[in-house]
Amino acid sequence: MAVFDTPQEAFGVLRPVCVQLTKTQTVENVEHLQAQLRAVSDSALQELQQYVLFPLRFTLKTPGPKRERLVQSVVECLTFVLSSTCVKEQELLQELFSELSACLYSPNSPKPAAISEELKLAVTRGLSTLMHAAYGDIILTFYEPCILPRLGFAVSLLLDLAEQEKSKQVKMAALQCLQVLLLQCDCQDHPRSLDEREQQQLGDLFASFLPGISTALTRVITGDFKQGHSIVVSSLRLFYKTVGLIMADEQLGRISKVQAKPAVEQRVAELMIHRAAEWVKNAGDKLTILIKKITECVSVHPHWKVRLELVELVKTLLLKCSQSLVESAGPLLKALVGLVNDESPEVQAQCDKVLRHFADQKVVVGNRAFADILSENLYSLATSLPRLMNSQDDQGKFSTLSLLLGYLKLLGPKVNFILNSVAHLQRLSKALIQVLELDVAGIKVVEERRWNSDDLSASPAASAAEPWNQIQRRYFRFFTDERIFLLLRQICQLLGFYGNLYLLVDHFMELYRESVVYRKQASMIVNELVAGAAGLEVEDLHKNHIRTSPEELREIVKSILEEYMSQENWYLVTCIEAEEMEEELMMKQSGLQAVTAGAHTCQVTSFPALSKPSPTICSMNSNVWQICIQLEGIGHFAYALGKDFRLLLMSALYPVLEKAGDQTLLISQAATNAMMDICHACGYESLQHLINQNSDYLVNGISLNLRHLAQHPHTPKVLEVMLRNSDASLLPLVTDVVQDVLATLDQFYDKRATSFVGVLHALLAALARWFPDTRQLQEQSFGKVGSHLSQRPATLEKGFENTTAEDIEQFLLNYLKEKDVADGNVSDFDNEEEEPSVPPEVESDMRPDVEPPLPVQIQIAKNVMERCIHLLSDKNLKIRLKVLDVLDLCVVVLHCHKNQLLPLAHRAWPSLVHRLTNDDPLAVLRAFKVLRTLGGKCGDFLRSRFCKDVLPKLAGSLVTQAPVSTRAGPVYSHTLAFKLQLAVLQGLGPLCESLDLGEGDLNKVADACLIYLSAKQPVKLQEAARSVFLHLMKVDPDSTWLLLNELYCPEQFAPPHPSLCPVQLQGSPGQQNPYTANVLRLLKELQ
């Protein structure tokens, strides 16, 4: 807060100090004055301005050598006064200006005086403050021609400082001061903005300084990067502000042809410049050189703020001086465009903003000259692009392509001018094709196999929000930087967005067709073109740009799809097996064997290729990529068309699904991704949903392709995938296509059985899934109500505790009666009881002679089972195995319809027995599984057959194998023999139970399994054997008990009544043998 508010008070205080200073000019006195000044209010000081300034100016003007320190403090004090007051008199302003600038130079040379940095700083700051202090009106009168010499001198001094000075502070101050001097200051408290006439006046005046300022600043700007970014930033700002003022189109347009005679003396008049057309042209030319230097140097400046300022420079110059600096437009635009992809987001954003602004103002599009320049630039870039792509490193490519991208952005719809020139389109496409060349040398591509045969479960929701942007990692021959690929994609998208899509797609599809060398690149480009045309991810700088209409887009996509999915472009050789189709079909099977087999053959063949990739590997890799790219394209197209793509699914879904089942990992991945994309784009919840909703289209493809199986060997695979992913609602469709499948299978039993068996398996699995057995489920939920096991021990226990002679008598009587019944002497009474159990008439309104039509799924299962009977004895083991699996499922599906199942089972039996008794162990294993299922589903029917045909062999093999497994080491558990033993042991129990075997057969089973209760057997086999006995206990607990006790008897049996003689069992109690442990455990279960 100022202490002295009125001039009078202030004067009282200041007077002595001023007088003192005038008398003796010392630093102390100056400082004293400054100290006093601080206590004076601004308004008071304004009144006393002249008075206070006098001693200070006097000090400066005093001739003779002055101490720098003094001058500096005087200048500082002066600056202080000026900062709080304003200069209202023209003369004072001029004088102060001269006096201050005089401090900077030595009288004898035009160079800045060798004075201290502090002083320089003080003076430059003083000058800035002075100019700011000048009162509005007088500042303009200051810039009269007559000031030109003095002003010019100051400018050149300041430029010298900015350029030569070491201190950064001084440099900055000098630059700022220059900015002020040239009335381009951007601080807030600057006088009002100038009107046109005043600007013109300044422009006329400053034109004289243009050469000096521009060259000096250029030197500063293009100087060492190490000088600090702020200096470069300020210099750039000063440069464009000055140039922008002097070369402003607005002013130049008003310059009269003839120079008006200025009313000044000759010396000054010579310095004046008339900005006539010729001068402008000259200046423009010279500036172009400088601007080119600047843009080249600054666009690679490491500091982002500098580059940001460059954007500003381009903006100002292009907006203000588009005509006068027309020659520079090229480099300026280039600089701008090159920064579009700057690594600094601020620069990018600003660049974008400027570009948008340009587009809004139609700076480029509305200005023919600019558009021409841009086109010219793009022409020449397109021309040199192939060469540049060839010779540059990644960084170089990156900036070149960024430039290309920028041009495209800026030109917008005008890009068609270039595309319409065949020569340039060819150049451009050549470069793109060349740089996008993939590296297909690696062998991984072909080698990687798909392991999981049904991985379609992934839901699209799991992937990211912009899944179409995710792309499989590619390896390019000519670059490694991912960003370059991104740039290339953006370029293609922009081309698609602004360019004539028909023309472009046509051109690139031409290349696609032309040679296999271009094919991959061309399809990559086409994919992006379409994505771009749909406006995905493209930010439109040019409003009112007419996009490709959805109908056109759909037509284009349709034709591309046709090309992609044509026989010769879609069914490429991607693995070695495919060359021998026959072989491949043998190998091909879903499931583990097929996979290992496939991988194995591939490895074998690729071993020699390891040392030097053979052309076949390369071409197969190339094919793999080709398909992947096309698949990816389909995903793009789906996004481009959105729900419209649904209509194309009728032709596109089938081929994609086919590829989803491809053995090559990359292809199946790409296909799955494409399907995800389709899900997203067309609004399906999941892949299942997609497949389910479009099964009719798939079935159409499948059924038509089945007619040409030789050309479409993968058709069954598609059906398999479809079946796996559909639900019961599709039964009618499935029924329809199954007719075709079976008909085709009947035609090709010998050749293509493998793939069909896979389909049949999927089909039956689907049926079993769609129509789960409700009865069985109920039974399971109720649990087994009462088994023999839970009833019997009760009576036994009771008998042991407290047995009387009557009890024994009753027991015997009961026994005899039961025996009687068992022998067939059944009383009528019993018979009557059984009668009601005859099943009641099912449907009353059904005509008695007509059976109700079978459910469709039963018919299918029946038809399939018939085929299985034929195929059970196929030469190929793999087919036999698979058929056994199918048979198993058939039985499951059919088991409620005994009338259908039993005759079929009867027909299948001989063949099944053959598998069980006379086949590869693997087949035996599966056949046994079928047998178990069959036993479970139609027990009685099989009993006698089983006992006659199968049981002896099974028992025999168990007995003969037992010694082997006793002796075997730990590795034995990995052998097939072991697995077989285990399977038989595990299966026999349930079989015995479900078949309800008679006593003699049970004994056979028990005898064969007893050996496995030995502790010497592998643990797992012991367990399995115990399970057999547990089942036997359910069927016939008494004889099992006896049998076990024969083996090992844990205790002596005391007769329940003295009249009975004691029992002696074979297994004597206490005597340990290998069976002890298992027998004890089993007996515990029995009690």
Binding site: M650, D696, V699, N700, R707, P732, D736, A743
Partner: protein, 328 residues
Amino acid sequence: MAAPILPPPLPDPQFVLRGTQSAVHSLHFCRGAQGQGHPLLLSGSLSGLVHIWSLQTRRALTTLDGHRGQCVTWLQTLPHGHQLLSQGRDLRLCLWDLAEGRNAVVDSVRLESMGFCRSTVLAGAQPRWMLAMPGRGNDEVEILEMPSKTSVCTLKPEADAKLGMPMCLKLWQADSSPRPRLLAGYEDGSVVLWDVSEGKVCSRVTCHTEPVMGLDFDSQKARGVSGSAEKALAVWSLDEQQSLKACGTHEVTNPGIADVTIRPDRKLLATAGWDHRVRIFHWRTMKPLAVLDFHTATVYCVAFADDGLLASGSGDQRISVWSLYQRT
């Protein structure tokens, strides 16, 4: 997308429509609602349903259920308005209003004959149109004026003609004459030309030994074709004096032709065979061009669209759609 134009070994349909879930007994192409130019295909099935298929999405748009589960034997749309006629074995001819997504029976005509004979209409731009259908008597044909349902006349052959039941009908009107004519194929294998306004027989030609199953007539060339249960296809012509003359017969491999249709451009003839096959002939020369072997059961009907698309419906519950010689 376009199916390859009959490559030598096994021509494929362009696509197959599934989902009728019963044998397809009648087919009819029509243009879709105005504004959306996609053509529609109508199919009538054994189970009494009429399916309306969009040929763009290849899916059923709607199902019409109006014949109480009895086979739909004939379908025809009327040129004015979006009206559909369907004939069912429930002895009803239904008139459906299909405009603006409606699908309701607006009128029906009771049929008196249990036979297989399909009806026929003669409809121009006028609101009145003519309907010919099998009549009450075994051998009669009933002519009605629609939509008033007033009987115009009953065409009853002379007692000694022994034509048997009418099997197929075709109403037409020569450009030169205002009098409508009716061509009828009879059970005894003869084709008869009736003058409807006078209600008398103009001409009769016996070209088959078995019942005539289907016939079609090309009024420009004044030539017609008929197929019967036997192996032969008969071509006959109509001369200036309005008399029918047999022009010749064309043997096919297997007996039984359920339907014959001439393409609207009068270049091709298609027949539906009991041998599961559709045969294509050059209509002018009667040269056999192709055998379309796709169905696995009797083909009951064939139909051509205005743009030349061919559809065939069969007992295997499928409708196959073929694109044949589109260029010619």
